[in-house]
């Protein structure tokens, strides 16, 4: 049943992750995926534009969102300490996890302390990043995904292809077959409402039985300790309300300063994400409310680093930590629209993933290193980003870091790399006039087997990629300097 899965950027064998180019070829050949994606991204794009159009103060909200996130990133230590204090004061427990392993250990430990063999989960990309479900399975604990799309891909043994609509690559007929097989649902039609009802019945029992619920967090307020989950289906409300124990995993960058700041983010997120004025359900909770019996009587908040402090250390790249996971940049990206999420081999796909993934896992792994190149730098992502992350700027910055890493950090292999060697030679030739003029002459002579009618249609060897879809202009018989010299005598004496 398990589909063959290539390692992703956050798995143990992340170094073996294929490059974007390799994976994109596979995705592009999948016509069903491309049809689903095309429909989905176009629909959401148009809806988002309409939802934003309605807001006369959208640009001012974006600016406030950007500035609040900047304030947090510059003073993250202080806000984390305030958050810890507030959550503890409200009766919750705060845990700190340096990496995925530590976070998984903490969460499994809490589940075991309550003899939970099953836990219910509301969609959380952070737990995808830490591979929590696999870890729990190894500890004998079954994690039930309760988001419809997450349930679909969990039952299919697949991975998400979109932050917001993870099963965007599956159609109704495929889902019906899956539910028939895995949920034992009989007489099921392929009507989406029928399929949804089958999931409702199956999961209701899980919600009522579960001793432990696990969630991510969209935001957590330092001032009050109020954590928030933004969702549509009600599974988030179920997971954060019904089980007696709630564990929330959040990246350290998700903290926001004050309760009032929700007024900014709760306007930016729904419209950017699902293109709605407001998403159906948002839960805000502050520690535990034992006296009123409302919700869990035990709450644990796990603060996860897992590479985030590495991102923070890059002054230019740290703006990626402002991301509120709306997925607007995915839906407008001409590259994502064609390849889908799987080609990025990361739990964070699309333009934001292309800047977040390589920074989180560190430069120097071929797969993640290829992501900053998965862009035409058209800038559409920057334009729609609700917190104004300048994604193209960071993409270019990271391309530079990847290249420098290859040059400096690559050792002997780096020095022998043909691209590096070619660039080094070129730098020398371009900095010396005699060498440069010599090279021009040599190229003029050397191109004769390739040039036809002033154009080169196909370059040999590793250069062939350049001419795959365009001609290269042949080097002319005379350079400008030669022409000038012939016309006016020596260029130094020319009257310019």
């Amino acid at each position: 049943m398990t589909l063959q899965r290539s390692p992703d950027a956050f798995s143990a064998d992340a170094g073996k992750t294929p490059t974007f180019e390799q994976s994109a070829k596979v995705s592009l050949a999948d016509t069903q995926l491309r049809r689903n994606l095309g429909k989905a991204t176009q629909t959401i794009r148009a809806k988002r534009a309409a939802a934003v159009e309605e807001m006369p103060d959208w640009e001012r909200l974006r600016e406030a969102g950007r500035a609040l996130k900047e304030r947090v990133t510059r003073h993250l230590d202080e806000y984390l300490l305030r958050l810890e204090e507030s959550v503890t004061r409200a009766g919750g427990h705060v845990h700190w996890a340096r990496d995925a392993e530590e976070s998984n250990r903490i969460i499994a430990g809490i589940a075991k302390a309550h003899d939970a063999e099953e836990v219910v989960k509301v969609k959380s990309i952070a737990t995808d990043e830490t591979k929590l479900n696999e870890y729990l399975e190894g500890e004998g604990i079954t994690a039930h995904e309760t988001d419809l799309a997450e349930l679909i891909i969990q039952l299919a043994g697949e991975t998400s292809s979109h932050i917001l609509v993870p099963a965007i690559h599956k159609n109704r007929a495929e889902i019906r077959e899956l539910f028939k097989e895995k949920l034992g649902a009989r007489g099921l039609s392929d009507d989406p409402s029928d399929l949804t009802n089958a999931a409702r019945l199956y999961l209701r029992e899980k919600f009522l039985k579960a001793k432990v619920g696990i969630s991510g967090a969209n935001f957590a307020v330092a001032e009050t300790g109020t954590v928030c989950v933004v969702e549509s289906e009600g599974n988030g409300r179920m997971c954060t309300t019904l089980p007696p124990v709630l564990v929330t995993l959040m990246g350290i960058e998700k903290v926001i300063p004050a309760w009032r700041d929700y007024e900014v983010f709760m306007q930016l997120l729904p419209r950017s994400s699902t293109a709605e004025r407001m998403n159906p359900y948002t839960s805000f909770w502050t520690g535990v409310s034992r006296e009123s019996g409302d919700g869990p009587n035990e709450f644990h908040l796990v603060l996860l680093d897992n590479g985030r402090t590495g991102v923070l250390a890059d002054e230019r790249g740290r703006q990626a930590l402002s991301c509120i996971r709306c997925s607007a940049c995915l839906n407008v990206c001409p590259v994502y629209e064609r390849t889908g999420g799987h080609a990025y081999n990361s739990v964070y796909p699309g333009p934001i993933g292309a800047i977040l993934t390589p920074q989180l896992v560190g430069i120097g792994k071929p797969g993640p290193d290829s992501l900053p190149y998965a862009s035409s730098l058209c800038g559409a992502c920057y334009e729609v980003c609700p917190v104004k992350i300048n994604i193209p700027e960071v993409l270019i910055h990271l391309r530079g870091r990847v290249t420098r890493h290859k040059q400096d950090g690559g050792g002997l292999k780096g020095r022998l790399d043909p691209e590096n060697a070619a660039m080094k030679t070129m730098a020398r030739v371009f900095s010396d006039r005699k060498l440069y003029e010599g090279a021009q002459k040599a190229a003029r002579v050397g191109q004769w087997p390739l040039a036809r009618d002033g154009a080169i249609g196909r370059l040999p060897g590793r250069l062939a990629g350049w001419t795959e879809s365009r001609d290269l202009k042949a080097i002319p018989k005379q350079t400008f300097r030669e022409w000038w010299k012939a016309r006016n005598g020596s260029p130094e004496n020319g009257s310019a």
Partner: protein, 218 residues
């Protein structure tokens, strides 16, 4: 204390060495130039609220306060609600005859199974937001614990006209005291639960109440 905590804090401080020593968080300017209050006339704000709640496929009716009990009775009858969940603090006169009332109170809290087996819940609310058609519950008077409005398949919510605010920032300002004081949980409800996970076709009603009805009284 825990070494993970110390190490993460140390990493954060090292990563932000470029931030000048004396800079405080408040020194990073945040321009709040967005709209804070709706200056439209009250009637317009309430009308917008009604219109936008309805756009989420929730049934909305505006009734006079005096007619509220009758209207509640009509809604419940139409949906054939027999076992009704009632939170503490709900006005007694709202309760129609002919339904079995299941009260959730401190002495006797309803179990999740009882809530699951009921037909619906009748509550008030904390606020309504016109801009987004959102109903806000804060576990206060006439609203009760979150589970009461989550497990039943039907939710009838009464919103008084004076509870409706114009814009999202007005709502967060009004809720500030509740959150900072008692730390009660807050839930935003904008239409019935929904999913678009299957081929982006919107399906109303996944895990919460599949039917949401709203009576605006004033």
């Amino acid at each position: 204390m825990s070494t993970a905590r110390e190490e993460i804090l140390r990493r954060v401080r090292r990563a932000t060495r470029d931030v000048p020593e004396g800079e405080r968080p408040e020194d990073v300017a945040v321009e709040r130039g967005y709209r804070k209050e709706d200056d439209a006339p009250r009637e317009e704000v309430v009308a917008r609220f009604a219109e936008r709640v309805a756009e989420y496929k929730a049934e909305v009716r505006r009734v006079k306060e005096a007619d509220l009990p009758e209207a509640i009775g009509e809604n419940l009858k139409e949906r054939a609600i027999e076992r009704l969940i009632v939170p503490p603090g709900l006005p007694e006169e709202w309760l129609p005859g002919g339904v079995e009332v299941l009260r959730d109170d401190e002495e006797r809290r309803l179990t999740n199974e009882e809530l699951d087996r009921s037909d619906g819940a009748l509550t008030g609310c904390s606020l309504g937001i016109a801009q987004t058609g959102t109903i806000v519950l804060d576990a206060g008077e006439a609203q009760g614990r979150r589970a009461l409005t989550l497990l039943p398949d039907y939710h009838l919510c009464v919103v008084r006209e004076d509870q409706v605010v114009g814009l999202v920032p007005e709502a967060f300002a009004r809720l500030e005291e509740t959150v900072k004081g008692e730390g009660r949980a807050v839930t935003f409800i904008s239409g019935p639960s929904a999913t678009s996970d299957i081929e982006l076709n919107r399906v109303e009603g996944v895990h919460g109440p599949r039917t949401l009805e709203v009576l605006i009284s004033g």
